[in-house]
């Protein structure tokens, strides 16, 4: 029963909504589909070929574009990461084996950036998904002016990230910022939002959460709308409270969507760049004078501008970031699957 709530088009074998494996479409003129000799007609064969090949042709443009601007650069920088390339040189130099990876892994700044990235990720993605789920549940109740509420949670997402970063940058300014004014107003000491490591992570995570929570909430809301009402009715008859209904009906019903949200926000969180970069007061864009909030994406960018072998080292760092994201996504996936199995 619950299985039928899946998105249409992602058909599973026989139940698929858009299953096109059935009998061929009716030929233009009614008549036998085979020639006298028992062989299929040309039109019939063409039609079969159409059914089999067309879907691939339709998705081909996406994969063609992806191959050109996604896959090719990725593979090429993987190749590049094993070479030297002098600064400003027109072509790459000789092969250096794993040296670029060794350089990056031995770099204390890389390690610091790794910790920063994971820290900012945890401070942003975890509260983000939790709050988004709750907001979605609230939006799913009988509110007046539903569309208005739904529009307004999406509003931060419409604002350009650069604008967000500038607004929050001045809110969190060390000496003249609004946040410190408020803190001072209630008798708390000023926080060095750019100087202190955890404080800077919090400031950056706030920007990310502000921007993405509403977006995720809308995705989760769409999934919640698809949960059949009779489940809630049954639960209500059994005497389950609203909270219990949320925990035991809503959450399990939307877990596929939840998984999607968690994995996309993991990927986004680990690639965070714009917010810390524009938050930065250090002239060399090191992510704070002591690299307090330099993220891995910033590390890749800065390395691409550094003095020695800029591109190959940045390529190595980019691949390490890629591997890290894969690991995080896998861990996410396995954790969620384990939880699902337990609850099933």
């Amino acid at each position: 029963m619950a299985q039928d709530h899946d998105l249409p088009g992602r058909g599973r074998g026989n139940n698929a909504v858009l299953d096109r494996g059935g009998p061929p479409r009716r030929p233009k003129k009614p008549g036998p589909a085979t020639t006298a000799g028992g062989h299929p007609t040309r039109r019939y064969r063409l039609s079969r070929w159409d059914l089999k090949a067309s879907p691939y042709l339709y998705i081909l443009p996406f994969f063609a574009v992806f191959a050109v601007i996604g896959l090719y650069p990725m593979l090429y920088i993987g190749y590049l990461s094993f070479f030297s390339w002098p600064r400003f040189g027109a072509e790459h130099g000789s092969s250096v084996g794993w040296e670029n990876y060794v350089h990056v892994l031995q770099d204390p700044v890389f390690r610091k950036a790794l910790v920063n990235t994971v820290g900012i990720f945890l401070l942003s993605s975890v509260p983000q998904v939790l709050v988004a789920t709750v907001v979605a549940a609230l939006l799913d109740t009988h509110l007046r002016g539903k569309s208005w509420w739904r529009m307004s949670v999406l509003l931060p997402f419409v604002v350009a990230p650069a604008a967000t970063a500038l607004i929050f940058g001045s809110l969190f300014a060390d000496k003249s910022g609004f946040v410190n004014d408020v803190l001072g107003g209630i008798g708390l000491p000023d926080v060095s939002w750019h100087g202190h490591r955890l404080a800077s992570w919090t400031a950056i995570a706030t920007m990310v959460n502000w921007r993405w929570t509403g977006y995720n909430a809308l995705i989760l809301l769409a999934a919640m709308r698809a949960v059949p009402g009779d489940l809630y009715e049954a639960a209500a008859i059994d005497g389950a409270s609203r909270v219990r209904q949320f925990l035991h009906v809503t959450v399990p019903s939307i877990r596929t969507t939840l998984m999607f949200v968690i994995i996309t926000s993991t990927i986004g969180g680990l690639q965070i760049f714009t917010e810390p970069r524009l938050f930065d007061t250090n002239l060399q864009h090191q992510g704070g004078a002591d690299y307090q909030y330099q993220t891995l994406a910033m590390y890749v960018f800065n390395t691409a501008n550094s003095a020695v072998d800029p591109y190959p080292r940045a390529a190595a760092a980019a691949w390490l970031l890629f591997v890290l994201i894969i690991i995080f996504a896998l861990v996410n996936f396995l954790l969620i699957r384990a939880l699902q199995r337990r609850s099933a």
Partner: protein, 428 residues
């Protein structure tokens, strides 16, 4: 209506897709087309940073109907931002304007073998006597290729707030303050007195600017003459220790060019700052209503040169010939005099220097200081060839400024120095 398969439609769609992909690839290959001649309505582009003071002279060119083409200047607020775009686009081989401005401290890295390949050789022997010798040579590669035409030089004077000096009981007259700015010891000692009298005002604008000023008097701050990195030398350490020791008392602890730094111009945040000619425009725009700024014709430890830029033409320009012509024109006497009047950038052009000195104009904003005369005097005090700028000068300078910022933010000087040497070690 029956939905019948229409193969021709699909063929058409496929054809369209193929054409699109095809045009994409041809668009990519367009870069090395032969240079087209520019018409009167075509635009030659130039990027500068900060304020080069070219707005009026370029407007003059564009208003002149006899000019063969138009010039469009893009101004980037800060060098550091422009540097990243410049280096990235240079390596990418695309994206730059026809003429690009390069900051003097970063010029050495663009003179290296691989980088200089990306620039048009601007050598023109008729220009040999146009510029101050040391600036002219600073735009050349080891084998004599001219990569950049010098725009301005940065002989440093000291700007000070005469009104605050008076309040603190210090001499405030332009001729009387010279003693305060005679040596660094004298300068810092006076600063201690000053902050005792006026505890709300700091002595100088930023730790970074004093570090820069002192550094410009160290002969080999970062690299030896054969470009070996050596930051463990007495000269550099002395600069670092002096500056960081004075952080708690004399410095605003603001980062140069930051919002806090700009705010300090108007709220009496500090009283003195090292002042190359191009800094005049920054002071005027940051504190248009503040009265009391003056310029001392003196500099601790003799003299120094801070900044001063070049115009270069990247090979990726489609119009290298015209670009060279514009770079030549902009660095010529008349235009450099115009740039000085607009933004205070002191010309590296000798004839322009002479003309400015002979005019003897005074600047009412700076209490009628004879700015050109002061800068001419300061230029004479600049030790030639100091500091030595190796290929990584700009990179290490950035790391040093970051190290000083760590101490400004409350970090320990020893730890910061360790992080600095470690980061410099990663430059190999």
């Amino acid at each position: 209506m029956k939905k019948t398969p229409r193969p021709w439609r699909r063929i058409l769609a496929l054809g369209a897709a193929a054409t699109m992909v095809g045009s994409l690839t041809t668009a990519c290959g367009d870069g090395d087309d032969a240079a087209n001649a520019l018409g009167p309505d075509d635009i030659l582009t130039i990027t500068t940073f900060g304020d080069f003071g070219y707005a009026d002279v370029i407007k003059g060119w564009n208003d002149d109907p006899d000019r063969p083409f138009k010039i469009k200047e893009t101004r980037i607020a800060q060098w550091d931002t422009w540097k990243q775009t410049l280096t990235a686009d240079l390596q990418a081989g695309t994206g730059l304007t026809d003429v690009v401005a390069v900051e003097g401290d970063a010029m050495p890295q663009f003179l290296s073998e691989a980088a200089s390949e990306q620039f048009v050789d601007l050598t023109d022997s008729s220009l040999d006597d146009r510029w101050v010798e040391y600036k002219y040579q600073a735009g050349q590669t080891a084998d004599g290729k001219q990569i950049g035409y010098p725009t301005d030089a940065g002989p440093e004077a000291f700007c000070y707030r005469a009104d605050l000096f008076e309040q603190a009981g210090l001499p405030s007259d332009r001729d009387d303050v010279s003693k305060i700015f005679s040596t660094w010891d004298e300068y810092f000692a006076t600063g201690q007195e000053f902050v005792k009298e006026l505890p709300k005002t700091k002595w100088y604008d930023a730790s970074g600017s004093i570090a820069q000023a002192m550094l410009n008097q160290v002969e080999f701050p970062f690299q030896s003459a054969d470009n070996e990195i050596d930051v463990d030398n007495a000269g550099l350490k002395d600069v670092f220790t002096t500056v960081t020791d004075n952080v708690p008392t004399l410095s605003t602890r603001a980062v140069q060019w930051s919002d806090d730094w700009i705010a300090n111009f108007t709220n009496d945040g500090f009283a003195t700052m090292p002042c190359p000619g191009w800094m005049f425009a920054n002071i005027k725009s940051s504190a248009p209503k503040v009265k009391g700024w003056d310029i001392a014709d003196a500099f601790p430890g003799g003299g120094g040169n801070w900044g001063g830029s070049f115009l270069a033409v990247p090979k990726q320009s489609d119009h290298p010939k015209e670009a060279k012509q514009v770079a030549n024109w902009l660095t010529d006497t008349e235009q450099e005099v115009g740039a000085f009047e607009k933004a205070g950038a002191y010309p590296a052009n000798l004839a322009a220097q002479e003309e400015l000195t002979s005019r003897g104009e005074v600047d009412p904003y700076f209490n009628d200081a004879p700015t050109a005369q002061i800068l001419a005097n300061r230029a004479k005090a600049v030790p030639p060839g100091v500091p030595y700028k190796g290929d990584k000068y700009s990179d290490i300078l950035g790391l040093l400024q970051t190290a000083i910022q760590r101490v400004d933010e409350g970090g320990s000087a020893d730890d910061s120095w360790k992080t600095f040497t470690q980061a410099v070690g990663r430059l190999n």
